[in-house]
């Protein structure tokens, strides 16, 4: 289980939070004409990378505030959390700390076969 640092309350147990999927997905302005494809991508399509990921969380059983974070999806480590109105951090800042469990390949499953 993760410890998540709520930008409003501080570090708390994961059980207090809910995940809200990819962050920084802009909702298209409803007053403008947009095509099926563009709208469909907003509604249905989300990135699912192995590695660094901008993500939304909400402190459901706490202050009920939404916030953003950068999470390494291969280790679940949350590298930084920040408020919605803050600028999104540059992922290059975290590249050096990204690691995968047990030295598994960057893409693919985490099978424990050590190839040297």
């Amino acid at each position: 289980m993760l410890i998540i640092n709520c930008p409003y309350c501080g570090p708390r147990d994961q059980s207090e939070f809910s995940n809200g999927g990819e962050a920084h997905v802009k909702r298209p302005d409803g007053s403008k004409e947009i095509g099926d494809r563009e709208w469909g991508e907003y509604v249905f399509i989300r990135a699912n990378p192995k590695g660094l990921f901008y993500e939304r969380w909400v402190h459901t059983h706490g202050c009920r505030k939404w916030f953003n974070c950068v999470r390494d999806t291969s280790t679940d480590e949350i590298l930084v959390t920040y408020k919605l109105d803050e600028k999104k951090p540059n992922l290059n800042n975290f590249k050096s700390v990204v690691k995968t469990p047990s030295g598994e390949p960057e893409v693919g499953s985490g099978n424990f076969t050590v190839e040297k």
Binding site: K99, S102, N111
Partner: protein, 992 residues
């Protein structure tokens, strides 16, 4: 096996006798004994029958790694699979052996041993997948279910467990020599430290062996006492004893289980275990090592045990299980057993070492020579033999000659492994050490430090420098401990995994996994059959898949496989050690979240009235709602529901609607916000009026519905479905914060603050007039879909004229505390008008007659408002609202979407069934094109027949046509597709 007590022991209280029962017979042990040590004291070594072949099994180890000695504790709700080697006895404890019938001595299942050539690797898979599946069902499964397995499930288990959370800087796992040294370094530092040990007494190897002779020139036990006292007195180190760390998760999250009744019978109603959930900055693993066994013919006979376990029984439990055991080893770790035996005046019957004379440590050589112990170097045990116990062994000596040695006990050592389970759970990497022949921790993945033998340091030479070096990231004092040893200082091992049997036979068995009855032959066969990847091999043979996870044997299996494949062990890899380290009970995991606390029950303020008035409840989310009211014991549900619904149509009914979600929305921009959240437009709506509204997902599908009351442009109250309340509030908050932070709007749940009564029926107005005499309920003063605030006997109430039944109706909102009073009042004034309570089932029937949908019953997340025929609810002039753009997507404007229609049986006497398909053909001939299905279905006394709502493809244009509904008896019923409204189509009664 004849044991003797060694009374010079600080842990066993020889003055305090304890009686216990094993398989119905009374025995005596001493305070401090485990079940295993107490049984050995009574010369009992046959304690169970094996999993598959029902072979007699004895006590193999002296700790958590025990594969064989699993017993059932009858006196503790018949708790099964308890390790006899760790469970302490108490006065009156009742223990039973497992997996035997009719008795342990004469077990019928031993017949499996005769059939053993068919129970080989992959037996289960082959019988499951093979051509003779019938055999499986009719023959094998019933037989195997009876014969294979461990203990019986417990009875009426009422264990109580607490959960405790810790947040510390450093957690030290294991209070042996290295754990204590680490803890000592942290004394009076600025770190919060938790020291966890599985045993009642800290000390590990100091208590369990005679390896160490002096620490800082003191007797080890004196040094231990002083050190523990120092640690206990420090303010920053907390010690948890009797606590086993079972799980090492991400982000240094540890789970440990503490036994609160070690050596005592658990008291009913008291917490008997505590689950510790630990958050720690750093984890220091000092959890030591585990000795492994060796494979040879009949290496499972009772009387065979690990040599370090024998020594632990001597040092820790004041008991030598045998007076003259034979020792068989391939390494230096068993040296100290020889030393320990001779120290108390015993000696081994023989010492057999696979190593050559030059390899054997000189001081061991001297000891053996001086005491005339028969020594066999370069020798191996080919097999052990005996009836239900070891009686003799066959030794092949360096010349190749066979020697028979009679013995009652054999001590084995196949080398030692760092206990890497927790380290690998933490995702740390292991490396194979070709010299010490074991996997050792290499690269940690988390802030994990390993010390001592847990790190693969089997020698004591670098003790100080190792601890100091690994703890240098902390501001702690440096160690300088002087250690003197009784035996050798360097660990030495020669490769030996398995000795092949003297005679080849189908029945000869060399075990590689004692708990799961896996033999080395099974491993060979699996590899021959192509299962040469270690993870496949594990599952195919079930090797190391028992509750002990092959703690004493899994490395041996890797060794054997690597030899067979002619690969290095590192190339073979290891299987993944998964949590928990040792089994823990579900009750410990559940903690207090069980029984009534498993899921909270929510009750309306009127709940006690319902209880008194015959309500039968149904669960709606966490809420208890009256389903129907039984006026007498003989009334069936059908009768009650029809009575309640007719009464609403003819007189009046009252429903407790308090569980409906209620959300208050306020703020300068509340109007704009509501227009964005719901499909409807609230702009032109008058203050004091109400509107039925739909909420969509961004995909355009109906998510929730409710009635919105507009108090002003800055103030709304919305109701939601009972189940959707939290989701709707969450959704509003999400959009207010993430998409429209510029809007000034706030929202809060007021579900539990207000009770809601729904009164409806033709006589409702008269009842309301009488219940609230100061309010004018005329159509002109109080029209349909309006609401008013009033005060009644000092209680602020809100009355909304709305209806979910199709009759004239009102909803009354009352502060929860005052609700029962008003409820009672309405009940009593309503009596003369025939007012009766109705439950959710009658409500469902009444609303369905009107064609009102229930979100989640008639919709399923793939239904748009257009599909429901509710296009009129969409504020088309609005620029934007949730899901608006989706309503014009190519998929949502398709004509053949499933749409809501009404269904009535063509022959009125026919029955319809909820969930059945609507199809075009009378005959069911596969493939059957399915148009859709019935979502709601009831019998209506008002209509005099069954009717249903359904969603079917292109339904709107099919109204007026005929189709068929399938039935659960695989036939069909002719139906008419009609408009989804069956009663009062032009709403005359609603607005009357």
């Amino acid at each position: 096996m004849k044991s003797i007590n060694l009374k010079d022991n600080q842990f066993i209280q020889f003055h305090q006798k304890i009686s216990f029962k094993f398989d119905g017979v009374k025995y005596f042990g001493y305070k401090g004994d485990t079940i295993a040590s107490a049984l050995l004291r009574n010369n009992i070594n046959l304690v169970g029958r094996s999993f598959k072949y029902h072979r007699p099994r004895g006590i193999y180890t002296c700790g958590i790694e025990e594969p064989n000695a699993l017993v059932q504790i009858i006196s503790e709700y018949s708790e099964p699979n308890t390790r006899a080697t760790i469970k302490k006895i108490y006065e009156g404890i009742e223990i039973e052996s497992q997996n035997r019938w009719p008795s342990l001595e004469n077990d019928f299942g031993i017949i499996n041993n005769l059939f053993s050539p068919i129970f080989t690797a992959g037996f289960y898979y082959k019988t499951f997948m093979g051509p003779h599946k019938k055999f499986w069902k009719n023959l094998y499964e019933p037989l195997i279910r009876r014969a294979a397995g461990l203990g019986k499930p417990p009875k009426d288990f009422k264990g109580i467990s607490n959960h405790i959370h810790h947040n510390v800087d450093v957690t030290i796992i294991g209070g042996g020599l290295n754990g204590l040294l680490a803890a000592k370094s942290f004394i009076n530092s600025n770190y919060d430290v938790l020291l966890i040990d599985f045993e009642e007494q800290l000390g590990g190897i100091i208590n369990n062996s005679n390896k160490i002779s002096l620490i800082d020139n003191k007797e080890p036990k004196d040094w231990l006492k002083e050190t523990i006292q120092e640690i206990e007195e420090s303010k920053n180190v907390k010690i948890l004893k009797n606590t086993l760390v079972t799980t090492y998760n991400y982000i240094n999250h540890l789970i440990a289980i503490e036994d609160r009744f070690v050596g005592y019978k658990p008291i009913e109603g008291k917490v008997n275990s505590t689950l510790h959930k630990i958050r720690t900055g750093h984890t220091i693993l000092c959890n030591g090592h585990i000795e492994r066994f060796l494979s040879f013919q009949n290496n499972d006979l009772p009387g065979i045990m690990l040599s370090s376990s024998f020594e632990k029984y001597m040092c820790r439990y004041g008991l030598a299980p045998s007076k003259e055991p034979v020792i068989f080893s391939n390494n230096s770790n068993s040296n100290s057993l020889v030393y320990s035996l001779i120290k108390v005046g015993l000696k081994p019957k023989a010492y057999i070492d696979s190593r050559s004379g030059e390899e054997i440590e000189p001081n061991l050589f001297d000891l053996i020579r001086k005491n005339d112990v028969p020594l066999y170097t370069n020798s191996q045990i080919k097999g052990a033999f005996g009836n239900k116990k070891i009686e003799k062994i066959l030794v092949e000596d360096s010349s190749g000659a066979l020697n028979e040695i009679k013995c009652d006990c054999l001590c084995l050592s196949g080398g030692i492994n760092p206990d890497v389970h927790l380290f690998t759970q933490s995702k740390g990497l292991l490396d194979w050490d070709e010299k010490d022949l074991t996997y050792k921790p290499s690269k940690p993945f988390q802030p994990t430090i390993t010390l001592g033998s847990a790190s693969g340091q089997f020698n004591f030479d670098n003790l100080n420098s190792d601890v100091n070096e690994k703890l240098k990231t902390f501001k702690v004092k440096k160690l300088d401990v002087k250690l003197e040893l009784n035996t050798n200082t360097k660990y030495n091992i020669e490769k030996l995994w398995e000795v092949s049997p003297q005679k080849k036979s189908l029945w000869a068995k060399s075990f590689i996994d004692l708990q799961n009855d896996v033999t080395t032959k099974d491993i060979r066969q699996a590899i021959t059959e192509g299962f040469d990847r270690i993870e496949h091999l594990k599952r195919y043979t079930t090797n190391s898949m028992g509750t002990d996870q092959g703690k004493i044997s899994s490395i041996n299996a890797l060794g054997i496989v690597s030899d067979l494949l002619d690969k290095k062990v590192n190339e073979v890899g290891t299987t993944i050690y998964r949590p928990p380290y040792a089994p823990l009970s579900f009750s410990a995991i559940a903690g207090r979240n069980c029984y009534e606390f498993y899921d909270p029950e929510r009750k309306s303020p009127i709940h006690s009235w319902h209880l008194k008035n015959g309500a039968i409840f149904e669960d709606v989310g966490q809420w208890k709602r009256p389903w129907y009211f039984q006026i007498n014991k003989d009334e069936t549900m059908h009768e009650a529901v029809q009575r309640e619904s007719i009464n609403v149509r003819e007189n009046a009914g009252i429903l407790d609607g308090s569980t409906l979600g209620k959300i208050e929305i306020k703020g300068e921009d509340a109007l704009e916000f509501m227009n964005l959240i719901y499909t409807n437009s609230f702009t032109k709506m008058k203050q004091g009026s109400a509107r039925y509204a739909l909420m969509l997902g961004e995909d355009g599908m109906v998510k929730d519905d409710g009635i919105i009351c507009k108090i002003s442009d800055q103030h709304f109250i919305a109701t939601t479905t009972t189940g959707g309340a939290a989701t709707v509030l969450g959704c509003m908050e999400e959009y207010a914060q993430t998409e429209w932070p510029n809007l000034k709007v706030f929202m809060n749940s007021i579900t539990e603050q207000y009770a809601t009564f729904n009164i409806s029926g033709p006589k409702t107005r008269e009842i309301m007039k009488k219940a609230f005499p100061n309010i004018n309920f005329s159509n002109e003063e109080f029209p349909f879909m309006t609401f008013q605030f009033h005060e009644f006997n000092g209680i602020p109430i809100r009355i909304l004229r709305a209806s979910f039944t199709g009759e004239l109706g009102y909803e009354i909102y009352i502060p929860s505390n005052s609700a029962p009073k008003i409820w009672d009042n309405i009940q009593s004034v309503g009596k003369e008008f025939g007012l009766a309570s109705y439950g959710t089932e009658a409500m469902h029937l009444l609303r369905a007659e009107k064609g009102y949908i229930i979100v989640g019953q008639d919709t399923d997340g793939s239904i748009t408002p257009i599909d429901l025929g509710l296009s009129w609810m969409i504020g088309k002039s609005k620029k934007d609202f949730l899901g608006k753009r989706s309503l014009t997507r190519s998929d949502t404007i398709r004509e053949d979407r499933k749409q809501l229609v009404g269904i009535i049986p063509s022959n009125k006497a026919d029955k319809l069934e909820e969930g059945q398909h609507i199809i075009l053909d009378k005959e069911i001939k596969s493939p059957v094109p399915m148009l859709g299905h019935i979502t709601s279905c009831y019998y209506s006394s008002t209509l005099g027949h069954d009717f249903a709502l359904a969603v079917i493809k292109n339904g709107h244009s099919m109204i007026g046509t005929k189709a068929y509904a399938s039935t659960s008896s695989m036939s069909t019923t002719g139906v008419d597709i009609v408009k989804p409204v069956f009663y009062d189509e032009d709403n005359k009664r609603l607005v009357s």
